[in-house]
């Protein structure tokens, strides 16, 4: 790590409309850096590990701030803070899963300024990468974590491809579970991407965590009515209960009908580079009662195909246990 910790000289724009922001983002491209709450920005800059030339502060854009009810669900402005998400009645009443996930992010002060967009678009937390090393994710030739002696306790179990970083986003798992859609703007227009496709693994793009490219701005997140008021389960296990990223997290949404699970979405966090849909569990529990017996039957499916590294073997039992809890619906 460098000896640096003051902010480098950098330009700053504070556009007040999405159009202006999109224009700036498009023209600056790789030289620009979008600023939401900034909580995943300043560390990079202070370390000189990333060197954008211009910051585009989006917080002045009012249209990206509100939480509104739509014909099919709700739309959350990308700049809505995590604290706002934990308090908003629409979200806490209908999509408590998201509120719970947002409430477990980092610390109160970070939630107070950290935005939903920032939380889903944040970069990998692999300590090697964060140190500014030139690993695969930074455009280099190798991974320091995935080696016989790498310190990879917090790294991935599944779907690694050279890079073994995991998704750090707590809200990301919830959004995938809720079948949210991400609204992305760039100079050529708007596109809507399913949350599940929003996150990309290293096999597809080793230097990006999401589909967002240069010039793209995530403007809003839409949550369909489909899962409103469903039965939810969220849990995040981290070393410390503040600041720390998940060792494993679980987000689940279930619809019950006549005492059995009619439909379910289960998503695990921090086990691969993207939120991991647990489709095998979903189909295994469909039509079954939501109880301990069902949970015990299916939990071990969660880790099928896992390839543990040196120090992260514990994530397998931990993941199974969290899946068990999510399926049975309670802790004790």
């Amino acid at each position: 790590m460098s000896s640096h910790d003051v902010m480098p000289e950098i330009g700053l724009y504070q556009p007040v409309s999405v159009e202006d922001a999109v224009g700036l983002a498009g023209q600056l491209a790789e030289r620009g850096w979008l600023l939401g709450g900034g909580q995943d920005t300043y560390g990079w800059l202070k370390d000189r590990a990333k060197r954008p030339e211009v910051l585009v502060d989006l917080k002045g854009i009012e249209s990206m701030r509100g939480i509104t009810e739509t014909a099919d669900g709700i739309e959350i402005g990308a700049l809505v803070t995590l604290t706002e998400i934990t308090r908003d009645p629409l979200i806490t009443e209908r999509y408590a899963l998201l509120a719970q996930a947002a409430g477990r992010v980092a610390s109160p002060q970070i939630r107070n300024v950290g935005t939903l967009a920032g939380n889903v678009a944040q970069d990998a937390r692999c300590w090697y990468y964060r140190r500014g090393l030139n690993c695969y994710r930074a455009g280099g030739n190798l991974c320091y974590a995935d080696t016989p002696e790498g310190m990879n306790r917090e790294h991935a179990l599944f779907n690694t491809s050279r890079c073994v970083a995991v998704t750090p986003s707590d809200t990301g798992t919830a959004l995938v579970a809720l079948e949210a859609q991400m609204v992305i703007r760039n100079a050529s227009g708007e596109r809507v991407v399913d949350a599940e496709d929003f996150f990309v693994g290293p096999n597809l793009d080793i230097t990006h965590m999401t589909v967002l490219g240069a010039g793209d701005i995530l403007t809003a997140v839409r949550i369909p009515a489909k899962w409103a008021n469903a039965e939810f389960y969220f849990e995040k296990v981290a070393d410390r209960n503040v600041w720390d990223f998940a060792l494993v997290s679980i987000a689940a949404a279930m619809r019950m009908n006549n005492g059995v699970i009619e439909d379910a979405r289960l998503v695990a966090g921090a086990v691969q580079c993207t939120p991991r849909r647990l489709s095998s569990i979903e189909s295994a529990i469909r039509g079954k009662a939501r109880n301990q017996e069902t949970a015990d039957q299916v939990a071990s499916l969660a880790t099928e195909g896992a390839q543990p590294l040196n120090f992260n073997h514990f994530k397998m039992p931990l993941m199974e246990n969290l899946v068990n809890r999510a399926v049975r619906g309670h802790v004790v």
Binding site: L133, N134, G139, G140, N141, L142, C143, Y144, D146, T147, P148, E149, G150, T160, S161, R162, V200, N203, L204, D205, I206, V211, G213
Partner: protein, 250 residues
């Protein structure tokens, strides 16, 4: 534009990372421009000769197994180039597994080809001798089985493919595979050199593949392409382009 990409290693020491992919554009554009120029030149200025007839007696030029080798090699090279370039140009496909599988296929096929060429084929037909160098400048000299250009292209491809395969295998050893876990990298500088050589070979492959495909598609050479599909050329094509004294097809 830079030619070589450098990075700092884990201890802050500057090491080579690989070839600059800007060169990919340079190579592609250069190849395109040169080939386009050639096409224009041929279309506008070159003496137009009537193409020899493809009718008549068929002469076997390539055995089925060699044709299969060729197309497997061609296919794997194209797949390798496509999958290798995809992440460079920002195309999001899960390229790596395809890439190394194609690389293994290419390697195995090349090994087979080399062995076969040395012991079962007429290896000498591909050798370039001092006399061959007169061939391009003297229209009266006709080649044996392979023209000087074909030999040149073949040997260039040989060097490039061996280079790309050899470096590719080293790089392959540095990622996880079904057979092993990736090792620790103790010398990032060496790794960078392998990437550099792999990249340079790739650039060459892209260029020579372009040249090869271009000529394969040219009207006056198309019968060679056909021969690589069907195995034969016509007697007329043989006479027009080859010296029967130097190449005595069975």
């Amino acid at each position: 534009m830079e030619l070589i990409r450098y990075r700092n290693d884990v201890w802050g020491e500057e090491v080579i990372l690989g070839v600059s992919w800007d060169l990919l554009w340079v190579v592609s554009v250069t190849a395109f421009v040169l080939l386009a120029a050639h096409a224009i030149f041929m279309a506008a200025l070159a003496k137009k000769k009537a193409l020899p007839s493809s009718e008549g007696k068929r002469i076997n030029r390539h055995d089925a197994i060699d044709r299969a080798f060729h197309w497997i090699m061609a296919g794997s090279v194209l797949v390798l180039i496509a999958t290798g370039i995809a992440p460079i140009v920002g195309l999001r496909i899960s390229w790596l597994n395809i890439h190394w599988i194609a690389g293994l296929v290419l390697t195995f096929v090349c090994v087979f080809h080399i062995i076969r060429a040395m012991f079962w084929q007429d290896f000498k037909s591909m050798l370039i001798g001092p006399a061959d160098f007169k061939e391009p400048f003297d229209e009266t000299i006709k080649p044996g089985k392979y023209s000087f250009e074909q030999k040149g292209l073949h040997w260039a491809m040989t060097v490039l493919v061996i280079a790309v395969a050899a470096t590719g295998i080293i790089l392959f050893l540095n990622i996880n595979s079904p057979w092993w876990q990736r090792p620790s990298v103790t010398d990032e500088g060496s790794l960078g050199i392998y990437f550099l050589l792999h990249g340079i070979a790739t650039l060459g492959l892209v260029a020579f593949s372009a040249v090869h495909i271009y000529f394969a598609l040219r009207p006056e050479k198309r019968f060679y392409t056909r021969s690589m599909v069907t195995g034969w050329i016509s007697e007329a094509e043989m006479k027009e382009n080859h010296d029967a004294n130097k190449w005595k097809p069975e």
